[in-house]
Subunit: 182 residues, 2 copies
DNA sequence: CCGAAAAAGTAGACCGATCTATATAATGTG
DNA sequence: CACATTATATAGATCGGTCTACTTTTTCGG
């Protein structure tokens, strides 16, 4: 794959990710993806011959890796780390006009029951985040439960924050996390 | 409004709620709503003159009230109550073939940024649940934070359970809740 | 190095299906 | 009759996907 082709492919993935994150699978119409990326329709099906599901699947896997990498960059003890994550996600959500929450959650809720490949993609991204959190909590006897709990708390708080268009849920949850990770 | 009319209206709301809960706003195509409810197309716009947004908005408000009422029926101390809720939601999710999670969450994530009326409807339903939880936690000094935290935890665990098609997230979170409400 | 053949990628018209919504006629019901 | 409701037909936009023609880049024998 040449340089130009790779760039087009990435622009398509970026545009999809942006649209998916702000409103889910059905908000990312292929016409919008094409318009936002500047790529023509033909290129889309050249780079993603299996169509929309492949495009969205790869896009959320990519987003999952990006966020996983951001996790690794964030240091500190476990409580500090989680607070940092919450602050980061809150900033991102508010600065985007309450559009950008979790890039996976909406697709997971929309498509988990309807599409096996997309359900699997979402499940795998979540598993990778759980693994990353578990590594951060290593040593604790209840690290397995705690990793899932922290992720659920973050996802739930992000959902509520988006629904209310307010940071308040994220802030309120931060205190409880201190208790939980104490 | 006569008896027949009221029944048709309710059948439309029920069908919408069912479809919305399993896959969100865009999974509830009006053609599917009509087919599932048995109501004719004309009746839909007679009973819901503002179209789909009104139909979906009323349907999630209705679902919100129904779940709020179910909360009230569940007794026990705060920890017992929350565990009961998690078990109930887990049963519902699994028995529906991993389709029925939170009837509000998907629409909230899909439409919060795009539709003010629907964002408001979702926000109000969540607020009513937060109020109900806060009442259950009355007396605790941190009842406000705790109510939001418990709701976020439930919503997050439901999301992960649907994404993984597994009760495991709900089970793991149950333990953490015991710690939190101790 | 050269230049032609092949591969990679771009471009956009076009298709049938489906979407929400409207318009209008028919029917039931007090 | 008058009003509430049902019933259909259809409008008009948009959906994901396919198709063929075109341009650029890469490959490779001489």
């Amino acid at each position: 794959m040449g340089q130009k082709g790779t760039e087009t492919r990435l622009r398509l993935l970026d545009a999809t990710q942006e649209l998916v994150e702000s409103g889910g699978y059905f908000n990312a119409g292929l016409n919008q993806v094409i318009a936002a990326s500047g790529a023509p329709r033909g290129s889309l099906y050249f780079h993603f011959p299996d169509g929309k599901d492949q495009l969205v699947g790869e896009s959320i896997r990519r987003a999952g890796q990006a966020i996983g990498a951001a996790f690794d960059d964030l240091g500190g003890s476990a409580p500090e780390f989680v607070e940092g994550v919450l602050r980061l996600l809150g900033d991102r959500l508010e600065e985007s006009g309450w559009r950008k929450g979790c890039p996976v959650a909406t697709v997971a809720l929309e498509m988990a029951a309807a599409s096996d490949p997309l359900q699997q993609a979402c499940s795998e991204v979540y598993t990778s985040w759980e693994d990353a959190l578990r590594a951060r909590l290593a040593g604790r006897p209840d690290a397995d439960d705690l990793a899932v709990t922290v992720l659920a708390l973050i996802e739930g708080a992000l959902l509520l924050a988006k629904a209310h268009r307010s940071r308040e849920p994220l802030d309120r949850v931060t205190g409880a996390l201190a208790t939980l990770l104490r």
